[in-house]
Subunit: 451 residues, 3 copies
């Protein structure tokens, strides 16, 4: 089965002109492998599953600077309080015939996440009040949580539920809900300036693949790439958190620095499937995060879906909340909440592919590259420079003119100090990363300088 | 026939989800009854017909604070002069066969409004120079005026005109055109602030129903509602005037106060028929008057017609003239000049309906409500507040999220002090009046405060 | 053939409602005649052909103030250097059969413009490296230049080229490339203010008609019209230059004055054929040059083609380069580079027509008229003035209102000091030139004054 995935990835890679060598194929497979390794762990917004997953990411990718931070239960974070820590060893139901059903070991989605411990016998009628299933997706186990109200419950497929008979059921949840801490990971990669690019991803979901193993796996592979770069203009702040309470907790401890330094940020989630890309803007809508991401998607995947800020449902809710207002937008393939497998057992390892993960990795890589390249340049001579004598312009005039020359002349026309590289690239309709050679040549000739 | 009107109104009301109780049905009928009472009176831009109509409105609605103001003939008002007062007792033509035609008592539209007195015998040829009819609407008597040039004339249907025979005609117009005054009504309803909402409507047309009895009748019913409110943030300036010369006269005496205090205004005309709504923007186009009215129409009647400011033909010409430039837009059902019955005898009591009047009343009521609710709010905590612990958010996370919760979270995200409630409601696509409970709850919880 | 052209022009003129009298027909013919006279001369960016053409234009149009300026070879102009002067007496090839082909006297397009002198015998293979033809237009001689690299070459039709046989060819180019000067013409027509309208056209192409004799011929006929006006608000700066190096040279000597004074400018090129008009905006896009030209084209030729600034290929490249940034846009009929005859021998005197030249002349004339009329006016009274007592408004109110009155009232509504005439005309959708009478009447009545 792995082989067929590789072939499928290769087939897609061959179709994509920007994916050309064997390294990127390997990268896609590495990312899928790491998702596979992380998949079985039962994660939640707190607890050992989160810690174990964070450790695998750190160790497998060699990110020794990825710090694990623990915030104690009861800590006040703006309007919120860090909840008790939840851990679970086992959970199941024994039906009237003595069969074990809803077995946590078969799928950790069977237990309502954050269920309090229970061990008792109940009638079918009582049990029904604690069961969750999806009538319209009868083969899927739903993913249900109850973080802020103490409950117990089980999730199962509608088909399973329909077969339940009258009688006594023993329900067992061997969980603990106790003072402990909330865990998150933080990786600061220093750059030439204190200005920061921020990447946030979350790791609190149990066994689901697109939402959410794809997010931390793609993000931390980008971190590895960033650490290996010769130079970085920006400092990178990369965090792996539990959703919502994690971003609120992180902001409550860091928002002043973040508001001062962050020039662009991305919330990374649901980036592993093969379907079209999704973009969800920041509240402001025209930050450099938005501009760079749109610039990449418009050139590389013009069929992407454009959502409204009003459709946000993830940590961008906190990053773009009133008073925080960070320049953070979100990139996804199939957006959370919009694909049929979302928040069910169908969001498994077959939904994500090496090519899917790799594509998202490359989109974010290009967006970061655009931000790293972004600066405001001015021409050093009035009128167009004579490019012919510098070998940058055809010496014979025929009816055709090349696209490269046209892009170069258009780029120069806008280098008047009022627009940055990225804004100019957007206006002239050329991918900024394809202008890199041209810009470097013009700088080398002394025709462009930083304003 | 009245009963059938009630049934028709009820039928329409049942279709409209916002019209649910018997009170509003009664209100529609009351408004139509008042139009019926006012219909026969021969009004003009000055004279006793205007005064009689204003008195009926004042007395029937119990608006004791509605002041009647008289401005003497010859008063200079900017570039204009208050004209002589016109009154008329009778008018008719005796045809060569001795029949009385164009009888003022049958329809006051038969006489050109502001006709000077005449009593003489003329040939058919001479008479024709003083006759007005509509060849394309052969059953309609046109409405013709000659306020600023002294003329006499008669209006009749084309069918009547085609039957005129050669011979001598006695023409009689028993009118007076003498020094007197121009009359208007003004009602100031005080609020908590000196800031004003302005409503202007005109009452100078003789026996026509949509244009114009619908305007003053709807406006003064709104005045009655406003007076009965427990509290009003804004002061209301409501005027009932003759068109054009009335708004110029009123402005010449009040424009300094108006420019200082008015934050939004509406010109109300042609608001009684059952056809789609019409909106005509202010010159500026994005005043709170425009924003609130568009907000209401977009949510309640998205099929409304949107006209250009260039299409204005009523008192908004003065309110939005250069140098005056008040934030006034216009709301109509069928716009003046655009419906076939306009300015003819076909604009009668069958054209307007209880439901038609009621709908316009409710649109304006909602627009006013939006303005009264409009304020700039700020969140009191950073990040999203924890609404779950306050019972404002579901405690269990499933695949669905409610529209109310989504609207609430979106509203909060924009409460950063840069936008008012109404602007936020527009951005998030939710009717402001439906957010009232949510806003009140959030204020009560201390999560929102006026910035 | 000339007669048929006149008839064709007349036919088109009859279709155009703005072309009504015999004078304009004569003007179209005059312009076409002047193109015919200039057509045979071999021009280039320097040399006697340019000078001869400029002299004909000056003398035939009686433009005694049109100065001829010479800039010596080697003069530094920003990043460029004025090249050596090129002149040519003859050029041809003797084929192996002794026939003279590619004869300069038959078409000066046969020689690559700026070819260095040559007189030698070469094989067909060697010759091929110096030949230029167009496989997809086998009957067209291409127009090829090599200004900044020393080359020699011949241009011929693909059909001719296909018939070349093996053998020795004598190639003769009797040209000189020596120190001399670059020539341009400059005509300053003084106005009431130092503010300038700038018109630039180029004259460096050899025997081609639309690109480019149409440009200087239309431009200098406009100059003649401007000189004969009783009054001009603006000073006019009109230049006839070689393309690119000419505009760079001119700017290097004048840009400070130009940046200070020019309020609008036009680059005039390819304005002689009968096809739809083309508009290419300034970099800024909303200068008064753009606004006036778009205003004219929208009203008179709404089917015009709208190009992007990114499509520029002529002297607007320099006028709108970063740091220069003059308010210059371009008007054309078929845009350079976009019509099949472009830069080939097919761009001949049959491609341009009297009506084609005349239409462009009139578009520019109207654009200039809009600029001359442009001023910011304020009403002198509050509210609408009473136009009826001044004979400017109908004294009887019927269902219809005239378009002229509507335009007048709309114009007045916007005369609040925030917009100029031209901006108001654009907003109210009325051609500014058709408002001239109205504006003059309102000024005469004292109702409008310059703010």
């Amino acid at each position: 089965m792995k082989n067929s995935k590789v072939e499928e990835a290769e087939a897609i890679i061959i179709r994509n002109s920007d994916l050309k060598n064997i390294d990127v194929i390997a990268l896609g497979n590495d990312m899928h492998d790491l998702c596979t390794k992380l998949f079985p762990i039962c994660r939640s917004i707190t607890g050992n599953g989160f810690r174990a997953s964070l450790n695998i990411l750190k160790n497998d990718l060699g990110l020794k600077d990825l710090r694990q931070i623990e915030v104690p239960t009861g800590t006040k974070c703006f309007d919120w309080i860090v909840p008790k820590e939840w851990n679970i060893k086992d959970a199941y139901i024994i039906d009237p015939n003595g069969n074990k059903i809803c077995d946590f070991n078969a799928s950790n989605l069977h237990v309502v996440n954050y269920s309090i411990p229970v061990n008792k016998t109940v009638s079918l009628a009582t049990l029904q009040d604690h069961l969750y299933s999806l009538p319209e997706q009868p083969n899927a186990i739903p993913y249900i949580t109850s973080y802020y109200k103490e409950r117990w419950g089980f999730c199962l497929t509608q088909n399973q539920r329909d077969q339940l008979i009258e009688g006594d059921y023993q329900v067992v949840i061997d969980s603990t809900l106790e003072d402990g801490s909330l865990t998150y990971g933080e990786l600061i990669i220093p750059g030439e300036t204190e200005e920061e690019i921020f990447i946030s991803t979350y790791l609190c979901h149990p066994s689901m693949a697109n939402n959410e193993l794809s997010g931390p796996v793609v993000t931390l592979h980008l971190a590895k790439w960033l650490m290996n770069l010769d130079a970085r203009k920006y400092t990178y702040r990369i965090i792996v958190i539990p959703e919502t309470i994690g971003s609120i907790t992180y902001l409550s401890r860091n928002y002043k620095t973040m508001k001062k330094n962050i020039i662009a940020g991305f919330n990374v989630s649901c980036v592993g499937d093969d379907r079209v890309y999704s973009y969800l803007p920041s509240k402001q809508g025209d930050t450099f995060a938005d501009i760079s991401l749109l610039h990449v998607l418009n050139h590389t995947h013009p069929d992407f879906m454009r959502y409204s800020f009003l459709d946000r449902q993830s940590d961008e809710r906190q990053y773009c909340s009133s008073g925080i207002d960070l320049p953070v937008c979100s990139v996804m393939r199939s957006k959370y909440g919009e694909y049929p497998e979302y928040h069910t057992s169908l969001d498994d390892l077959t939904l994500i592919t090496p090519a899917g993960l790799l594509g998202a990795y490359q989109v974010l890589q290009k967006a970061i590259k655009c931000l790293e390249m972004n600066e405001t340049l001015c021409t050093t001579v009035l009128c167009e420079p004579q490019l012919g004598k510098r070998g940058l312009y055809p010496t014979i005039s025929t009816k055709e003119s090349s696209a490269i020359v046209k892009d170069m002349m258009n780029f120069l026309a806008y280098c008047d100090g009022s627009l940055s590289n990225l804004e100019i690239a957007r206006i002239i309709g050329a991918p900024l990363w394809e202008l890199e050679d041209t810009i470097n040549k013009l700088k080398a000739e002394g025709l462009l300088r930083v304003c």
